[in-house]
Subunit: 178 residues, 2 copies
């Protein structure tokens, strides 16, 4: 069935630092009219970097919305108009110091399709060369190298809650057959 909703009128309700919010008046497929609130986000990239021993690199940051330190796959926001592939290379290098010889796109993740336009481009990076991390001046993180099997265990035990990391680790595990 076609449930397309058509915008009748847009209100730019909030213009923020990272996100904007629009509240559109839309016509539903039964011709009823309602409001759709949308968080507009530039999107981002996420990288599962696997070395020759099937270990994966993860980073630990303080995530202010949850007031928690979280372990996640390296990731970052897209600049406006930026292509995802160079952004993935940049974020992996900045956060971990790694360069990768082979990049395999693993598709896109819509993190919250009910209310947010955030779209993450997920990559598998292999053929790794180690260098020095160079995060942004006010970006603080720890890097660790963990066997993929152990990361799968952490996903299954609930130690990893970040959705992109759960998806990226389980995709990598199927690709590597672990």
């Amino acid at each position: 069935m076609d449930y397309t909703e058509n915008a009748l009128r847009r209100v730019n309700a909030y213009k923020g630092i990272i996100v904007d919010v629009t509240t559109d008046m839309v016509k539903l497929s039964n011709d009823a009219v309602t409001l759709r609130e949308v968080v507009c986000h530039p999107g981002g990239v996420c990288v599962a970097a696997l070395d020759e021993d099937d270990a994966v690199y993860i980073v630990r940051q303080f995530r202010y919305p949850f007031r928690e330190h979280l372990w996640e796959l390296p990731a970052g926001k897209l600049e406006p108009g930026e292509d995802p592939f160079p952004a993935a290379q940049r974020e992996l290098s900045e956060e971990t110091g790694l360069e990768a010889a082979e990049w395999t796109p693993l598709g896109t993740l819509y993190t919250s399709p009910g209310f947010s336009t955030e779209r993450l481009y997920l990559y598998l990076a292999t053929g790794l060369t180690r260098g020095t991390a160079h995060p942004d001046p006010n970006e603080f993180l720890d890097v660790d190298r963990v066997p993929l099997t152990e990361m799968v265990r952490r996903v299954e035990s609930g130690e990893i809650s970040d959705a992109k990391t759960v998806a990226g680790i389980l995709r990598a595990a199927r690709i590597r057959g672990v």
Copy 2:
């Protein structure tokens, strides 16, 4: 390392329909001061309902932020103060008509921990009894029953982009050994 960021001052920047936005002035772990913009969301539930033949139930809705119809696991927002377990039972019943005899919590997913407080409670539901779907008046969706192996294929091919669905399907696949 401890990278805790402490709020110095809060601005309630936007009060919306589903989300609010706060922009807090925070002190970083190096004593620098910056702003943290946070999308405040009530959180939600997501259910991987598996029948005796290892088929999973999915729903298709129009997702206005992407102007796309998406296939997703049954899911829904929490009401303020609502416990996730009854919400999961309610959403599964409303969207698919299913009741489940056994419920296994699969932990929580943080959909966008960099900027959003959305936390999804993921469940595996088994021992299914079929009934009649009864979605909200202005909620339009199709329901399908798909073998778990086929859903894994759709995740791996990129046909499924919704992050909670990718996570839930791959968690269920590991549990069922497919």
